[in-house]
């Protein structure tokens, strides 16, 4: 993008290490997606296209599952888009971090995933957060697609990621990234309410909406916390 060199300069070695840890987990999940799509009879080219063009793990697993279960194409796409609705408020939150120019927005939009959002928000605002967003996003995009192709090739030889606890690593990793924000009392209040509401909504709403219901947690945002805590994010 416009200032690749300044981005690289702003990149903190500790952030590189953390992003690599995330990437290790993502490659395993990508491989399991590739293997699952192959087993579900999705043509290889379409599987590759899903990972390249959609680049949203949850939605990709969901559309493959809906179609494998005999649901129609329209139902699958609707379910996937519902799951991805959260990307809009995420974009609002990280808009300034991604960059101001059109080129940055057009490319940066495709790299907007839960992990790159949480990852950049865990850094102090400014060049370091921007570098963290781009590095994390580009790295995850790369390994997600490598994982997908590897998984398609290996097929049923791909082990279940749950055997490595990858399913526990993701929520724990996201939570670790949220920790600086959650040291603020108002964020903790909102977060707790969001978690409870999303869990309560899960049995009654289609996938994706319960997480959005979590936004109602803002009702307990109250007044800004005045105690400086550490950094707000």
């Amino acid at each position: 993008m416009p200032e690749v060199r300044s981005l690289l300069r702003a990149l903190d070695p500790a952030d590189v290490r953390d992003a690599l840890a995330l990437a290790t987990a993502i490659v395993v999940v990508g491989a399991s997606f590739g293997a699952l799509a192959a087993a579900a009879g999705v043509p290889p080219l379409l599987t590759v296209a899903l990972s390249l063009l959609v680049f949203a793990g949850g939605a990709q697993f969901l559309v493959v599952a809906v179609i494998a279960a005999g649901g129609g194409v329209a139902a699958a796409v609707t379910a996937g888009l519902l799951l991805n609705l959260r990307h809009l408020p995420f974009g609002l939150a990280v808009g300034d971090t991604v960059g101001r120019g059109w080129a940055a927005k057009l490319v940066g939009a495709h790299l907007l995933v839960d992990e790159s959002v949480a990852f950049s928000r865990a850094r102090p605002d400014g060049p370091r957060a921007r570098a963290a967003y781009w590095f994390c996003g580009l790295l995850l995009f790369t390994v997600w697609n490598i994982g997908t192709v590897a998984g398609m090739a290996a097929g049923s030889a791909v082990p279940d990621p749950d055997a490595f606890g990858v399913d526990a690593a993701f929520p724990a990793g996201l939570l670790a990234l949220l920790m600086p924000a959650l040291r603020r009392p108002d964020a903790r209040r909102v977060g707790l309410a969001a978690a409870v509401l999303a869990l309560l909504a899960t049995p009654v709403l289609p996938p994706g909406l319960p997480v959005l219901v979590g936004l109602l947690g803002l009702l307990v945002a109250g007044r800004p916390s005045t105690e400086p805590a550490e950094r707000s994010r």
């Binding site: 296209a49 959609v54 939570l175 949220l178 920790m179």
Partner: protein, 102 residues
């Protein structure tokens, strides 16, 4: 799966992603609203963590995963490095499963 499905999902997802970024650039948000946008992202991420930690689809995920996440969360709260948090959570869940915990 069809090309139509892939392209519709890809286009829709990209539009959602871009819309947020572009809106942010266009809007002049008062500080109070900016705070809510920021807290809203936190709310969404915590909601994601909670549902991903406890549920598999609409059903309980079993004990190994939430216990692994809890161990990781404790480490994160005690300011353990990110890599340690992730490894502790994964190791705990994997270890419990190896012992036969669902």
């Amino acid at each position: 799966m069809t090309w139509g499905a892939v392209l519709a999902l890809a286009g829709g997802t990209y539009a959602l992603r871009l819309a947020g970024l572009v809106l942010r650039g266009r809007l002049r948000l008062p500080p109070a609203v900016e705070r809510l946008v920021d807290l809203g992202a936190t709310a969404l991420l915590v909601a994601l963590v909670a549902t991903a930690a406890l549920l598999d689809g609409m059903a309980f995920a079993g004990w190994a995963r939430p216990i692994g996440v809890a161990v990781g969360a404790l480490a994160a709260w005690r300011r353990a490095p990110f890599v340690v948090v992730v490894l502790l959570a994964a190791g705990t869940a994997a270890g419990l499963r190896a012992l036969g915990v669902p």
